[in-house]
Symmetry: C2
Subunit: 212 residues, 2 copies
């Protein structure tokens, strides 16, 4: 699977690592947008010319740097989610606990990137990632019953909500809750709705009537 391509020059590997590390550190220290290429190469002890030999711009470095991390996450998801359809629905969709653990691991990074000092491309990338990751699960679920809303809308809703909750968690809640707790809470409100979250279940029928 991990093909050993024409053996990459060690210098390339080193440069990539140095630049990645420098970027990540700088993001945490000062935010993304204000960082210049010069800042990155200075920190990495690499020539600015070298940077352009490898990357088109800051964004390309960022996304390349994220790739490794996200590959790991995605594999985790793919290993768990779409296949065991017969398991309990609840546990099956609850695997986003991994997402929140991942956020906890890189908390400083996400706190910045999900703030004014972050990058909009990054936010939408995360949104797209979340959407994509839940797609197979939703499709499987949809086979069992007739969905009442378009799947695209459902995944857009859930992905957006997850970003909102994540931002709240790292920013306002200061990660007071554990990854497991926040994952559980997110899962509960996502699956049962704010009606449940606010503490009343009695008038569920009313709302469903309103659906027509």
């Amino acid at each position: 699977m991990t093909q050993t391509l024409p053996k990459r020059d060690r210098r390339i590997e080193r440069t990539h690592q140095l630049l990645s590390k420098a970027l990540m550190d700088l993001i945490i220290e000062r935010g993304y947008d204000s960082i210049t290429i010069q800042d990155i190469t200075d920190r990495a002890n690499v020539s600015r010319t070298t940077f352009y030999l490898h990357f088109k711009d800051k964004d390309e470095l960022l996304f390349t740097s994220m790739q490794a991390i996200y590959d790991g996450l995605l594999n985790g998801h793919e290993g768990l989610m779409p296949l065991d359809i017969d398991r309990d629905h609840i546990e099956n969709l609850d695997c986003n606990a991994e997402d929140f653990e991942h956020v906890a691991d890189y908390a400083d990074f996400y706190r910045v990137m999900l703030s004014d000092k972050g990058s909009i491309k990054f936010v939408w990338e995360v949104l797209a990632y979340l959407t994509q990751v839940m797609q197979p699960t939703l499709k499987n679920k949809a086979k069992e019953h007739e969905p009442k809303l378009p799947l695209g809308l459902i995944s857009a809703f859930l992905a957006g909500a997850q970003i909102g909750v994540t931002k709240w968690w790292v920013e306002d809640d200061k990660m007071h809750y554990s990854p497991d707790e926040i994952a559980r809470m997110h899962f509960l409100i996502a699956s049962l709705g704010f009606r449940w979250a606010l503490g009343w279940q009695d008038d569920g029928e009313k709302a469903q009537d309103a659906a027509q």
Copy 2:
């Protein structure tokens, strides 16, 4: 209420309008980030020096320009929401139809601003706006029953979800659904959860057991 302050110079009014209009048009044509001050002043037929006489930077112009629009929206919300606690819960929280109508009115603008070519500060501004707007309603609701989750988390969840749905609506759905339809769908999944949206209600108890 609309206090007639020391009577603002007509030239100031005119410059503000010209710059606002130019910025909005340019955003729709080319996206936000790539626009320069020079672009704006060229389009507005105003000197670049004049720009700096009024605004610190592009962001300041953007948010000033948005203010008027959002003031109107907020007044709509405040007039409708927090006061009539005794009305049906469902209709009471369904007033975000206004939000989607507003998005429909400025669809081209939102399609850009909620894309890679948008502005991250704008996105978080909208998120904060949505959060703030639903706060009083949630607090009122919370008085009636004991909330099962922190109110901050609930509003973060709902605000994020609304942005996700809005982005999906203008971008992927190409606004095939009407504002009313999308508002209704959003409200339904928000209040009843994805479990309902996917078409099964039978195991609601299971999930609630999982809450402890």
